[in-house]
Symmetry: C2
Subunit: 681 residues, 2 copies
């Protein structure tokens, strides 16, 4: 023991440190330094969420000699916990152990997961946990005829006494159950306090008898094609189950506009689609709960994102206004509501948060992608692209951000391509064309080798080669361009029919025969035109935003969504879908919308961040911009082809989800394309 | 025109005055002085709620010469209003007219009803209107592709711009309808903002196309026997329809405890009674709406009071805990909830406020009576008594207030009296006994004369004389005592049988034959005992509270409820139900609970007042007080009979609802009783 009453304590892995008086509880020291340590039981030593380890030894750099004598002895509280629940060797409860000398305190990994990191994003940012709900265990005074406060009122007194909650509101649905829960728990209960209801005072939204040591949330991206849901522990921050399902609204209309039409033509159309999506959500909730062995009533907070039409249908709002100019959203701001109001079968007190929409064509999904990628958090100019039936484009930095939607149509999804098919075994997913012979080689989903490798025929015989999946369309058109089959104007060069029997006449134009097997797969002139239109729309939208920002070049590109995940960014550049950018800075970021939803679920500060960001984003309506048409016409052509890819044949076996280092194997090519793009613009 | 830029303006009838610059709008001048002038349209000259009159002439006392030249000329806005809606001669719109010289401004009566006075209570207090909702007419910007805010978001912008509402919350049930309402109203709508939801930020709870110039509220007292409801205009403060109905829960149990037993014995009992009372409420809502030609969707705020068991059953809470010690309320504080959560068929956004309960036996009805009578608002000691199956007693002043419930049982309601019956034609309601002959005379409901007057027999032949109604029980026992038929111990004096054949042997005791007709109506010794027990319980409770307050005498008594309305306070004092008090200060205050509910409906400041008062009331549980038993035993006897009433026979034809001046016709008698009471205590 030192005679100095102040002891130096270092918390790892955060590295935060401070001086504390002898006898200070370690949890209090941590909180004073802003080191996140969970606690549900309020320091009673029963929830075990505040565990720590002590690192012993001399830490010369910090001037600390940490020994087990510098922490208080194992307390009765800790012994009782260890007997009842198990406490790993060396572990201590920070709500019990006190500082008796200099210490190095380690917040163990599973504990630290509480505080941080679902995924480390590129900027090294760590996601701190600050969910909308908090579990608060209390012991409530029993009724007393001398002080005839109601049971609920005494619960509120206990929550103020132990947790500092003043004037909590209470969900009225709890009232019929409060007395039973208090008595079932023998006056020990865990209240769930929700702190993020659109500026309401915090509310008691659920009540459990005894100690409740776990609570869950849902983060969900309602896509027009697919709904993806994650079940997340609100106490550990971990995703414990995920599930996806096709959006059942597809039966009312394949794409968004056909669903709006369905509503306009059918009096019950809106209601039918609202019921369909909510049923699908309830099925997914059941799936993830079953998978993770979680009771739906333990789900207490839910975050949803989706494009404006999905957003409206989910909330029960008629999307007709979104079907035509001026594309008026019923509500653009974030929506806070109650899960039962949306017929969701979770805890009756669970709240729902829906991220704000950016504009009538740029929805809460785009807001979530923006939240995830964070152009508004950095100085360099970041381009965020989410390609679906429309492409949502966000471009900017901390100073200024612009957003637009570009009408790419469904070609990028393979929908308007003659041999297009969905990504399933047998679908072509990779294509290379020999520029000399014009012979193609392909890879199909479900087979590991290229079509010119030995054994391919046998391996592919089960499924056959049945079509070209969405992401491969880009690749085949780009390869056709690189090999000279199509010109810069996008015309299939009929003169090459003399050189290769892959070039065939098709009415008044020519086609390229990509595959000859049981099925013949051709890329027609119409297919090329469809991709040209789509890529021109995308590029024109991007160019418009670059004009608005006054920039000639973007510093990084984030490709969100399935399309971004599966295409090779190089080919996107060859075709001129996206502007010049260092390939190292082009990232496929997968379901960034779902990840943005998860961020908003785990930390309500992100809700304020995106709400604020959305109000500051400048919205560009492409239809109203005179320059858009000009950009569009210019972008129909292929970029100037200065140099082909070097070492092209080596780019094989791209992983489905692209890591930055892989996307970056070819700086020279990137430089070349940069020059080309500048030449055009 | 004076050269002084400041003009003196006097507002009548409030008498508030101030100096204002030439050109000041009169509505702004009024608001600056705290003179309440309604406005729904926000000064657009279309709602017509801000009308004023100008009084002209010399007002020497105030130093004002008010002329029509001192107000701005009739404006285009006023002309348009007058053409469209009618503006009475001389009337001006204060949102248009400006101050051009000294003025005396009259807020007309129907306008002033907005601000004040539903009823003037005894202390001269005026009830200012400050309801929980506010109607706000706005003109919303149309959608604009350049600024793609949602329709709701633009509505919020307009409400902030025109009404200063920042960050309004929005009921999620409105979202599906917002676009249609805005378009139906051609972007002109009236939003209903609710400002009193338990500390939440104000919310948009309803939205109407165009100008909505009226909104209604419900004030309701859910009694165990009768439910009484008032439909009130929240803009004028006037009660526009009232209705009552027997509580249909009576079929599950006549009194409160039998209803609790029903719940304990029947698994579905609680739900059945909750449904029964809510259905009855919906029927009443339909009745008052039909009577007043009001749409239920125009009801936007509701206030309920009731005893703890009615309160719990209405809210869907099992009242079992209230059936035994420690009589734990599920919730004692005020309840804020949504009307649809209670299955009430009013506007979907309507809110419900339930006054706080004082204790397990002293409910929200007693809180409402307290709010109405206001012991906490004055310095003198006020006793408030509400007699039902239990008597709720509140005693105190601004410094300290105490409350208790006394188990009087149902005798005061006539339920345990052999010849008791409900108040209906044929029931005896008034009794006088000649102290010399012991012959009675009675009045029956439905007949205007006393039984000894000519024509009574013919007039009463239709209904007969069938029983004694609750309030008359007090009178007949008191008259029996005053005429010597019963002793101070409450024993029917059998020796009088020799003097009068009205005294008859009845087993081992004697009875008094009150009526001989088709039916013989007897007051038995058991009847006398039942009333003795009830009055002893009431008096013991009051005495206990007086002990707690350290007082020997109360300054005033308010008798609430039907019992208080119908009994003659003199007889209540003769029997010793209530302590000595100047008879002038004994008031029957009728349905004070319903009136308290109306106060809370019209002015949310009263909600805060009663919430605060209830927390400061000291609750006394009679069962736990050792002195209660002693007081009870002492109070069994009749008070010392020092002098009988002078001029007794003249006290006739008491009105059903007693006015203070009438209750005060007999100061000498009151003095006499005061002496008697002091002698006993």
């Amino acid at each position: 023991m030192t005679e100095n009453p102040d002891h130096l304590v270092l918390f790892m892995p955060s590295g935060k440190r401070g001086r504390f008086t002898k006898g200070t509880q370690i949890i209090d020291a941590a909180r004073e330094l802003g080191v996140y340590v969970e606690s549900v039981c309020g320091g009673r030593g029963i929830c075990g969420r505040c565990q720590i380890d002590i690192q012993t030894g001399e830490f010369a750099k910090h001037g600390i000699t940490s020994t087990l004598e510098n922490i208080s002895e194992f307390s009765g509280k800790e012994k009782r916990y260890a007997e009842k629940r198990e406490l790993k060797d060396g572990r201590r409860l920070s709500c019990s152990a006190t500082i008796e000398g200099d210490l190095v305190v380690d917040i163990p990994q599973e504990g630290q997961a509480n505080a941080a990191v679902v995924r480390k994003v590129d900027d090294g940012r760590v996601i701190e946990r600050n969910p909308a709900i908090q579990l608060c265990y209390v012991e409530v005074e029993e009724p007393d005829m001398h002080k005839p406060l109601g049971d609920l009122d005494r619960l509120k007194v206990a929550l103020e006494r132990d947790w500092g909650w003043e004037d909590l509101m209470v969900d009225s649905h709890l009232m019929p159950d409060i007395q039973k829960i208090l008595r079932d728990g023998e006056w020990k209960v865990t209240a769930v306090v929700h702190k993020d209801m659109d500026g309401s005072r915090p509310s008691i939204v659920a009540l459990f008898p005894g100690l409740k040591n776990q609570a869950y949330g849902i983060a969900c991206d309602i896509g027009s094609t697919t709904i993806a849901m994650h079940l997340v522990s609100l106490l550990s921050g971990q995703t414990i189950a995920s599930s996806g399902t096709p959006n059942p609204q597809i039966r009312f209309g394949e794409d968004l506009m056909s669903r709006v039409s369905y509503v306009m033509m059918n009096p019950d159309g809106r209601e039918a689609m609202t019921i369909a999506v909510r049923n699908a959500l309830n099925n997914l909730i059941e799936n993830v709960c079953t998978e993770a062995k979680v009771e739906p009533k333990d789900i207490l907070d839910l975050v949803f994102v989706g494009n404006p039409i999905m957003h409206h249908l989910f909330l029960g709002i008629d999307p007709t206004e979104l079907g035509g100019a001026p594309f008026a959203l019923a509500v653009s701001g974030a929506v806070h509501t109650w899960a039962p109001d949306l017929d969701l079968t979770v805890n009756r007190g669970a709240r729902v948060y829906v991220l704000p929409c950016i504009a009538g064509h740029v929805g809460a999904d785009a807001a979530a992608v923006t939240l995830c990628e964070g152009p508004h958090r950095q100085d360099s100019q970041m381009l965020v692209v989410d390609v679906g039936t429309n492409a949502e484009i966000v471009l900017g930095n901390a100073q200024h951000t612009v957003a637009a939607s570009s009408p790419t149509g469904p070609a990028f999804e393979g929908a308007e391509i003659s041999c297009g098919q969905r990504a399933a075994p047998g679908a072509i997913e990779r294509v290379r064309i020999d520029p000399d012979t014009l012979e193609p080689k392909v890879k199909v989903i479900g087979v590991d080798m290229w079509s010119d490798e030995e054994g391919f025929e046998a391996a592919s015989s089960v499924t056959g080669v049945t079509g070209v999946c969405g992401s491969a369309i880009i690749e085949v058109i780009a390869e056709m361009y690189l090999s000279g089959i199509i010109s810069e104007d996008g015309v299939v060069d009929g003169t090459l029919a003399a050189k290769s029997n892959r070039i065939v006449e098709d009415g008044r134009t020519f086609s390229y025969v990509l595959w000859r097997g049981e099925q013949e797969l051709k890329i027609t002139q119409t297919d090329v035109r469809a991709i040209q239109l789509a890529k021109a729309a995308l590029y024109a939208g991007i160019k418009l935003l670059m004009d608005k920002q006054g920039i000639e070049k973007v510093d990084s590109i984030s490709f969100a969504g399935a399309f971004g995940t599966f295409i090779d960014p190089k080919y996107a550049m060859v075709l001129g879908l996206i502007p010049d950018c260092d390939l190292e800075k082009v990232n496929a970021v997968g379901n960034a919308a779902g990840y943005g939803a998860k961020m908003a679920l785990l930390n309500r500060d992100f809700r304020r961040e995106i709400e604020d960001t959305v109000t500051r984003i400048e919205k560009i309506e492409t239809a109203l911009e005179p320059d858009f048409q000009a950009h569009f016409v210019n972008a129909m052509a292929m970029p100037n082809k200065v140099d082909p890819f070097p070492k092209l044949g080596e780019v094989v076996n791209l992983p489905q989800k692209k890591a930055p280092s892989e996307a970056n194997s070819d700086d020279a090519a990137s430089g070349g394309r940069r020059r080309r793009r500048r030449a055009r613009s």
